[in-house]
């Protein structure tokens, strides 16, 4: 590295490469921002869902207090571990709720993102600027496949902290039993770590669906959402005509199959243990098989298929001529 100082002639072309990379990154940032301007549901819907959870927490304490105080368990057996477990369950539930909302929003987003620009004819405006079709399609995947899932993870973490604070305040005011909920930063971090890996796994596993939706979006002349549902219709047709469910089994597997791999087919010690006493969610670290999930052949086959679908969508956007 020190040779750069002695020989500036060598340093010049080396500096030129990051400059063009920096420009490409700047373009990608502008493109991703654009997605959130156009598709406001991407951030409005998760925020609204998180807001609703907070509102429920603020006003539902009467019911919670009623249920928990009536429950006999809380008197004798409700210790630190249970209080901590309840906090981690909330942590997980908040994330799951926001993720379900996100799944709907992203489905609509991916189906619409390459269709809307043709419908409102703004595609010629976008194409009048020096942005490649590859970078354009990449920006949709970055927005919907990276920024939103990790944004939702962050939003879920913040929402959970707010909820715990509200419950703690209720407890301090005597509206909820003292010691109902507890906080442990290490436990919290361990659960966030689980969710973080889960988000990465979910993104990778769902890439072929993302690619399929993008391809539908770029090819549909009208009603892309209907075309996106074609696999379900075919599965129904198969069942009606042949009384078999091969396609449905495949669709079902492609939608959630990896979670079964992660959870060892549902055979979790955690589940057995919670029948006797509550365990904080981070106990799943010993149970979940991330190694098996991330080395799953179908996961990476899906990624390869997704690459093909995204490439096809890019080529079609490049050469499609709707005249």
């Amino acid at each position: 590295m020190s040779s750069n100082i002695d020989t500036p002639v060598v340093a010049a072309p080396a500096a030129a490469v990051p400059a063009s990379q920096g420009r490409m990154f700047g373009t990608l940032v502008a493109l991703v921002r654009r997605e959130f301007w156009e598709h406001r549901g991407l951030w409005v819907a998760p925020l609204a869902a998180a807001g609703l959870l907070v509102v429920f927490a603020l006003f539902a304490h009467g019911h919670v207090a009623h249920i928990t105080i009536e429950d006999e368990d809380i008197g004798g057996n409700w210790g630190m571990r249970e209080a901590l477990a309840l906090s981690t369950y909330m942590q997980g539930v908040v994330w799951v709720v926001l993720t379900i909302v996100m799944a709907f929003v992203l489905t609509f987003y991916f189906v619409d993102c390459l269709y809307a620009e043709r419908k409102d004819r703004s595609i010629y405006f976008w194409k009048s600027l020096p942005v490649s079709d590859g970078l354009t399609v990449a920006s949709k995947i970055v927005a919907g496949g990276v920024v939103v899932p990790f944004g939702v993870l962050l939003l879920a973490a913040v929402t959970h902290i707010v909820l715990v604070s509200i419950f703690a305040a209720h407890a301090a005011l005597g509206q909820l039993p003292r010691g109902l909920i507890a906080w442990n930063t290490l436990t919290w971090l361990r659960v966030e770590g689980l969710l973080f890996l889960g988000v990465i796994l979910g993104i990778l596993w769902n890439l072929p669906i993302t690619g399929y939706l993008l391809l539908v979006s770029v090819t549909s002349r009208r009603n892309p959402l209907m075309w996106a549902m074609v696999p379900f219709l075919l599965a129904l047709l198969e069942f009606i005509l042949l009384r078999t469910t091969y396609l449905w089994t495949f669709i079902h597997y492609r939608m959630g199959g990896i979670w079964s791999v992660l959870a060892n087919g549902g055979n979790l010690r955690f589940v057995h243990a919670t029948q006797h006493h509550m365990l904080p969610l981070d106990a799943l670290w010993g149970d979940l098989n991330f190694y098996a999930a991330f080395t799953n052949l179908d996961l990476w086959l899906g990624v390869v298929v997704a690459a093909g679908l995204v490439y096809a969508a890019t080529r079609i956007r490049r050469f499609r001529d709707d005249s």
């Binding site: 373009t27 009048s128 020096p130 001529d321 005249s323």
Partner: protein, 285 residues
């Protein structure tokens, strides 16, 4: 100087319809070229080929690049505005500036803001809240701020009232055009912009029927207006088109001298619009 656009044998078919059949033309730098033709003549297809928006056969170089293979690099030097290339209705004026600034290395935001300050357009407005004339002004503001070498305009003022149209072309000529820049323009309102052109290309049924600079037109084409009784002797000089106007006859000639025609009647250079009609209606040369 190398040509800005060099087209040789451009061909394109949509199914059985042949939009372009062996079109060749050259556009030199610093010119304002009118691409003129009736609907369905192949104008838009030719522009799409130039912009790399469609596949085609034949040879085409734009600023020394192949628009099929090097579209992304090309678009740093080429600006495009069309009646069909509408700004998205959801975008805010400020967002449009942010976006173009983010993706275009040759965009100067101050120029766009300076131009918009002279209009009634507010930065916080969405495109859907603007009138069609204002949307065109916004698009023009973006284009003025991009330091491009070739500007392609496809019916840019369609559906605008006269005032907006006049302002549009005045701005283009005064604030944008210079000897380094080339403008390629199609429009139906030829009469309105014909004194803007330095060159014209007539295109009809997928063929180029005329390619000339405006100076060349003056020496190549003559329009002679004669009274009805002189029509026969004027017709003897073989006009390629004639048209009756208020009892007199306008005859259109190619390659006749003023000495031959001047004695018969009133002689002048045909307007581009008249010449276009004459070439379209007249017998194929």
């Amino acid at each position: 100087m190398t040509a800005v656009i060099e087209a040789r044998g451009l061909a394109k078919s949509y199914g059985n319809t042949r939009a372009l059949e062996g079109v060749s033309f050259t556009v030199e730098p610093g010119r304002i070229v009118g691409l003129i033709g009736p609907n369905g003549a192949g104008k838009t297809t030719a522009l799409k080929a130039i912009l790399g928006l469609t596949s085609f056969d034949g040879q085409l170089q734009v600023l020394g690049r192949d628009p099929r293979a090097q579209r992304d690099a090309l678009m740093q030097q080429v600006c495009f505005m069309a009646d069909v290339a509408v700004l998205p209705r959801w975008i805010r004026v400020r967002e449009a500036l942010d976006y173009v600034e983010g993706v275009h290395p040759r965009f100067d935001r101050r120029i766009a803001e300076g131009f918009l300050a002279k209009t009634d357009i507010r930065m916080s407005s969405r495109v859907r809240q603007l009138s069609k004339g204002m949307v065109t002004q916004l698009h023009l503001a973006l284009i003025l701020a991009i330091d491009a070498r070739l500007l392609v305009l496809d019916e840019p003022t369609l559906g605008l009232d006269l005032l907006y149209r006049r302002k549009f072309y005045d701005t283009l000529l005064n604030d944008y055009y210079d000897k380094e820049r080339t403008i390629l323009l199609t429009t139906h309102q030829v009469e309105e912009v014909e004194n803007l052109f330095t060159d014209v290309i007539f295109i009809s049924h997928g063929h180029v029927t005329l390619e000339a600079s405006v100076e060349d037109l003056a020496s190549r084409y003559q329009q002679l207006t004669v009274s009805a009784e002189r029509a026969a002797s004027a017709r003897a000089l073989k006009p390629f088109y004639e048209r009756e106007v208020f009892g007199r006859v306008a005859m259109f000639y190619e390659g006749r001298s003023a000495a031959e025609l001047g004695t018969l009647g009133e002689l002048r250079t045909p307007s581009i619009a008249d010449l276009f009609v004459a070439k379209m209606q007249g017998a194929p040369s």
